[in-house]
């Protein structure tokens, strides 16, 4: 009884308040909120999304070695960081420097005027002046100014265990037909040729989509498709799905319950043959398997299409509203310097590659050396589905592709539903 009385009273108070809220409601959205990070001209704030233990420790060490200005490092769990990023940038007193991704996602923030123009770092003696033209293009906003400082990147490929391939007596393929034949051979040995964890990480299914589109329609078409200039239910994408369909019988069916990390286990225990994934796979395999791991390029389908690869690039940008722009640029220059890059990569235990050509890579493991060569022999570079578009468009791909994996026969209706939801995302 007490319970019911309280509810009624609370409800009436709520109704009264509702009237007030509609009058005053503008306050909630009108003014910019304070993100909680404070900085003045003497202290710089670096907001980091690197919340995994090794990368976090690595960045802490690298920032600790910077002595010019006092730097406060705020590390935030990545999903929170992603959600709060617009708020950080829009606040009255934003963090000076932030970790994030190159490509269309950075360009999007730049077009809203949130990012500091760092063009002078890319010219003359600037810290990024020696970086490759491809990286420069990736770090350039729509207005032609550079707004991003890339510090490391990684590659994607079809990873496999050398000893397993030896055991099965097979070789890495270079053409599509060879690849299909290889899958058939591995399957005949009672092993799932391909593993892919699309359960809690459905975005992994976009890896194959991206690559098939790059191999069949090329990088330019792929970028335009993700920018909304082509349709997901057009003949080009249908052709991509035709090729994807050929692969379906070769996937480990349990993969749809797995995360990308879980799906590494069958590969490591030789119950699966190959895995199309990023170089970060080395952090997920047991240490005694790392040296047995190798990769090859996703096979060529149309030899007339310039070879394209995914090489997601990470780095930093600075807030346009920073109170100490000179200090922020100086910190960015330090983070982009060969020594800082090398130290970060070493301490974070990843297989990431440095963006600076001055970093001595001779001490890097052979797999990483091969990764560097792999990308150097590539004509066009893309990032990944979400980085080339947006996280919201990624979820439309997740829905469409996981549904396709379950019901390949419904491909036409799946693609038209994908196009409809993609159109909504791109228009918003």
């Amino acid at each position: 009884m007490v319970h019911s009385e309280l509810s009624r009273r609370g409800f009436l108070a709520g109704l009264g308040g509702l009237g007030a809220a509609t009058i005053l409601g503008g306050c909630a959205t009108g003014s910019s909120s304070d993100s909680g990070s404070s900085s003045n001209s003497t202290t710089l704030t670096l907001q980091s999304s690197l919340s995994d233990a090794d990368p976090k420790a690595a960045l802490t060490k690298v920032v600790g070695d910077y002595t010019k200005t006092k730097v406060t490092l705020n590390t935030i769990a990545i999903e929170t960081f992603r959600a709060q990023l617009p708020t950080y940038l829009n606040s009255g007193n934003p963090p000076d420097v932030l970790t994030w991704y190159a490509g269309s996602v950075a360009r999007d923030y730049a077009s809203k005027g949130f990012l500091l123009d760092v063009s002078d770092l890319w010219t003359g003696n600037g810290a990024c002046a020696g970086f490759s033209p491809a990286l420069k293009e990736l770090s350039t906003g729509a207005d032609g100014k550079q707004i991003f400082v890339p510090t490391n990147y990684y590659w994607w490929g079809l990873f496999y265990r050398k000893s397993a391939f030896q055991q099965w007596g097979v070789q890495p393929p270079t053409t599509w037909d060879q690849f299909i034949a290889l899958c058939k051979t591995i399957k005949s040995k009672g092993v799932a040729p391909l593993t892919m964890g699309t359960g809690s990480t459905p975005w992994v299914a976009s890896g194959w989509f991206d690559y098939l589109d790059l191999r069949i329609n090329g990088a330019e078409f792929h970028r335009d498709l993700l920018a909304g200039k082509h349709s997901f239910d057009g003949p080009e994408v249908k052709n991509v799905m035709e090729h994807y369909k050929q692969l379906l019988e070769f996937f480990d069916p349990k993969g749809r319950s797995y995360s990308w990390q879980d799906a590494v286990t069958p590969l490591a225990s030789k119950k699966a043959g190959m895995y199309l994934i990023g170089a970060f796979i080395t952090t997920a395999v047991p240490s005694n398997v790392v040296d047995d791991l190798d990769f090859f390029r996703v096979p060529i389908i149309d030899p007339n299409i310039p070879v394209a690869e995914e090489a997601p690039t990470d780095g930093y940008f600075a807030s346009a509203k920073s109170h100490n722009t000179q200090g922020a640029k100086d910190l960015l220059s330090y983070l982009a310097s060969p020594d800082a890059q090398q130290e970060f990569i070493k301490l974070s235990k990843s297989s990431n590659l440095p963006t600076s050509q001055k970093v001595d890579t001779s001490a890097f493991p052979p797999l990483v050396q091969k990764g560097i060569k792999h990308l150097n022999e590539t004509k066009a570079i893309t990032q990944f589905f979400n980085r080339d578009s947006s996280d919201e468009l990624q979820t439309t791909a997740d829905t469409a592709l996981t549904k396709f994996l379950d019901k390949p026969g419904d491909v036409n209706s799946i693609l038209s539903a994908w196009q409809a939801s993609a159109k909504k995302v791109i228009a918003s």
């Binding site: 009436l12 809220a21 617009p86 069916p253 919201e392 829905t399």
Partner: protein
Amino acid sequence: MTTTTLEAPVAAPAGRRAGGARRVPKVVWLFLLVPALVEIGMVFWPALNSFYISLTKWNGLGVAQPVGLDNFRALFSDEVFRGALKNNVIWAIGFGGLSVLGGLALAVALNRPRRGVGLYRSAIYLPMVFSLAVTGLFWRVQYQPDGTINTLLGAVGLESLERQWLADPTTALYAVLVAAVWRQVGYVMVLYLAGLKGTDPTLDDAAAVDGAGAWQRFRFVTWPQLRGVNTVVFAVTVIDSLRTFDIVWAMTQGGPYHSSELLSTYMFQQGFTFLNLGYASSIAVVIFALALVFIITYLVRATKEGADT
């Protein structure tokens, strides 16, 4: 409409409350004022703002653009939203029904003191001490393709029933539901055990002497005495089923392809992954309205029944 039905019952005790106010020392009001302000500032004010935000298009940047009822119109043509609404209905019925029936049955079974009954009660209540996220992770392991459930099915020769519970759109929602009920049932049991302790055992004895069977004694003697507990259980269950979020998020994140999406998970995704704060707020308003409709209808009915007797 809702205000008129509610003003009448509140009007009567209002006089009594005003009289009581004079006897309360001023300093107590001061102490009450502080938590009240915190509550208003931190809970009611943001909650009310979501009503305003639901009428705008806002991505957290700059100024929100008022769009009238566009968000609500878009909602009802949004297939994912309609799917989530349907799933919420299934969830409310399944989660509410199973946990109330299960909890009540267990409470009645474990009400009488017997040897080892405390052990059973503790064991059934135990899942409640885990957070929902932990419950979700635990069940996710059971539901894995090579997990306990499939292994057990295989061991008793039911291989044909083995499936990828969380990856199959036809079973994902129900698989999560089982996990949620597994946890909730202990809670409802404890509520009903407390209610059964409050019933008068002499009435039960008298009915037994008069020749009433076990079912008749429960239905006509015990059940009417549980009305107070029923109100609490109903409110708790409806609110819990509408705010269910963590366990679904931990187990499926609404997937595969939105087949286990609930209003709360869809709201979270729209609000905090896509930053469509206006659209997400309009989903929040729908959830609020649903909770309110259920609870008001029930409370109005409960008060009426109370007045009749």
